[in-house]
């Protein structure tokens, strides 16, 4: 009986597989559609950010009514949990089973490195980064099929080291951050400026997904005059809450994903710490720029249940989707010849951003973009960031020649280093 069942189900499985294999090429050959896959974190510590990325992609595709150059956009959604292996498995699924032409994603640092490597093994497919921001993704071992229209972690923190040293008189900063590629990049960017000016840095890493930071907080040196928070998502929320509970007295400054609507919209005792907090990042919530105001208005109209302002995730996934749509329009939806024309168009693109600026790519297909120093303000119980300083055309190498910059080594948990004596 059991054996009979086995054979029957095996046969059924074979039949399904066979028909799927037969059906797949016909799907791919349908001339009238362009299949775009997306990967963002709808699970794990950045789930809320991933949700906002979906909103942004929905907006971008709806704006063109899911049509580009007369072809229909078919959107296949996939999710990961901020782990590189999961993102890779989902990307494989999108390429191999769903037969997508283009992937927009992923969201988190290590995922980006994994998909960059995967993209190198593909021909005739393109991955446009969602918002992952590890530095080396487009700095070392670059892939011709991987395009990134957002700054990396280093670019996103540009200006903060100088601001902390010169305007806040910080001399010894203790930094707390997640122990993976994206925070390494931010720390590298911060220390690049801060250590050059003579500042000292103590680093306190914790694994991504840590929820109990009590012992990290206890390890913050008493003689550090400022604490730099690099955590994002629920990690940031947990750290800030527990810092408030522990009665932490040292003033805080923060990285780009710590001060974001994902964290600012959540309720809790951490909000006390956020008010007036100085941070660096690529977006400013209450910018007066008309493009930004229009973007926020259409976001809030389409998603009344969204954040008070679009998050960093929304902005970057939106830019990525816009870039894909613009390049597709330029080549009239022609993805033949291994997407050569499409990729060339992407590389030369100047994409208008919701912040009112423009993003263009360098030779490594990495964005040259604007960055801001921001202050958190409380408006009737809603927290927003407001602009303190603005830097345009921030490059991945902080304006240094690429070779000289590469000689500084890869950002890692130990590089760079300028510990207090």
């Amino acid at each position: 009986m059991f054996r009979g069942l086995m054979t029957r189900s095996t046969a059924a499985l074979l039949a399904v597989t066979a028909s799927a294999a037969l059906a797949a090429p016909t799907l791919a050959q349908q001339g009238g559609t362009i299949r775009i896959g997306s990967i963002k974190t709808l699970e794990g510590p950045f789930a809320t950010g991933g949700q906002d990325a979906v909103r942004a992609l929905t907006m971008a595709f709806e704006e063109v009514n899911f049509t580009v150059a007369g072809k229909k956009i078919e959107w296949v959604r996939e999710s990961s949990n901020a782990q590189a292996d999961v993102a890779l498995a989902r990307a494989r699924k999108l390429i191999e089973q769903d037969q997508v032409d283009i992937i927009i994603g992923p969201l988190s640092g290590a995922e980006g490195m994994a998909l960059r490597d995967y993209s190198r093994t593909l021909t005739g497919k393109t991955i446009v980064n969602g918002q992952s921001a590890a530095a080396d993704t487009t700095l070392r071992d670059v892939s011709p099929n991987f395009f990134r229209f957002n700054g990396d972690g280093m670019q996103w923190i540009a200006g903060l080291g100088t601001y902390a040293y010169q305007k806040m008189n910080a001399r010894h900063v203790a930094l707390v951050g997640g122990d993976y590629a994206f925070p390494y990049a931010q720390v590298f960017g911060f220390m690049q400026e801060f250590c050059k000016l003579g500042g000292k840095v103590t680093k306190l890493w914790s694994p991504l997904g840590t929820t109990d930071f009590a012992s990290t907080i206890a390890s913050i040196p008493k003689n550090a005059d400022t604490v730099l928070v690099i955590h994002g998502g629920t990690d940031a929320l947990a750290f800030l809450t527990q810092y408030a509970q522990a009665g932490g007295q040292q003033p805080l400054i923060a990285g780009p994903v710590t001060v974001d609507q994902v964290v600012m919209s959540a309720r809790g005792p951490h909000r006390r710490l956020l008010n007036n907090l100085i941070s660096a990042g690529p977006i400013v919530d209450d910018s007066d720029d008309p493009t930004w105001k229009a973007f926020v208005a259409s976001y809030k109209k389409r998603f009344p249940d969204g954040f008070a302002a679009p998050s960093i995730n929304a902005v970057h996934y939106y830019i990525a989707a816009k870039a894909v749509i613009m390049a597709l329009e330029q080549v009239k939806g022609d993805l033949s010849n291994n997407q050569q024309a499409f990729q060339a168009a992407l590389a030369k693109l100047e994409v208008p951003t919701p912040m009112g600026g423009k993003v263009r790519l360098d030779d490594n297909r990495q964005a040259i973009a604007s960055n801001f120093i921001r202050r958190v303000v409380d408006r009737n119980g809603q927290l927003f960031t407001t602009q303190v300083e603005r830097f345009d055309n921030v490059t991945q190498t902080f304006g240094m020649p690429r070779a000289e910059f590469l000689a500084l080594g890869s950002p890692s948990r130990d590089n760079p280093s300028c510990p207090p004596q």
Partner: protein
Amino acid sequence: MSGATAATVILNGLTLAALYFVVASGFSLIFGLMRTVNMAHGSLYLVGAYIGYAVFEPLYDRDLWYAWYLAILAGMAAAALFGVLMQTVLLGWMQGQELRQALVTIALSIIVADQLLARFGGTPRQFFAPDALFGSTALPLIGNYPTFRLVQIGVALAVGIGLWLLLNRTRLGLMVRAGVDDRPMLAAMGVNVPLVAVLVFALGAALAGLGGVIGATAQPLAQGVDARFLLTALVVVIVGGMGSIAGTAIGALLVGLAEQIGQALFPTYSVILTFLIMVVVLAIRPQGIMGRAR
């Protein structure tokens, strides 16, 4: 590391262990009597926390002091009810089929997580402890220490002592202990074993719900914490010994201390320390530190 920092880290370990004990004791209790490896224990934690939060938020908005206490009751009740349903509808009639129960509870945990995501969304939430429990308390040697973490120890002690009294001083406890040793004989004595099973399941689930509200006051509540607490509960009872309350306490202490000391001394590899403890225990004493060989 200075003496004060070392003392703080150890106290952090103890307070984290307290939370782990509350969550894992329910898991251990259920396993002890029913040999059910309840892979949905993390879901009971989530259900308790989210239902507790749904009760908590509107009351907190009106500044009612009892909002948090009511959330605890609601969280425990919701988790207990869910546990009873699990036992009566699903697990009761596949008693003794361990693999089947494990698969059913895994499936259940996926379904519950998705339903909670659909209902409550992905935004992290957190309970705010009543003012009496928030802020910090001055301790000798350590200085200011978060009051709520000390409360966790109190809750864990209450749970531990309560469970000990229940198991050793009541008729229900007598039946539970007898059931652990010889279930068919207990049934032959005329005890309604399925009913005892439902009661134990309700109790174990209520403890998970209690852990949910307490845990979500100390740390953010978000999607995915169910898996984390299930894993922790598994490690705790494997180290301590399945079905033993004292073993669960020892397991929770080891895991909590290992996590916090690891975080302070070698953060990158702190995760490994927990599993190293598990490997060592499994190699030397496979039934767990307080577990009885079967």
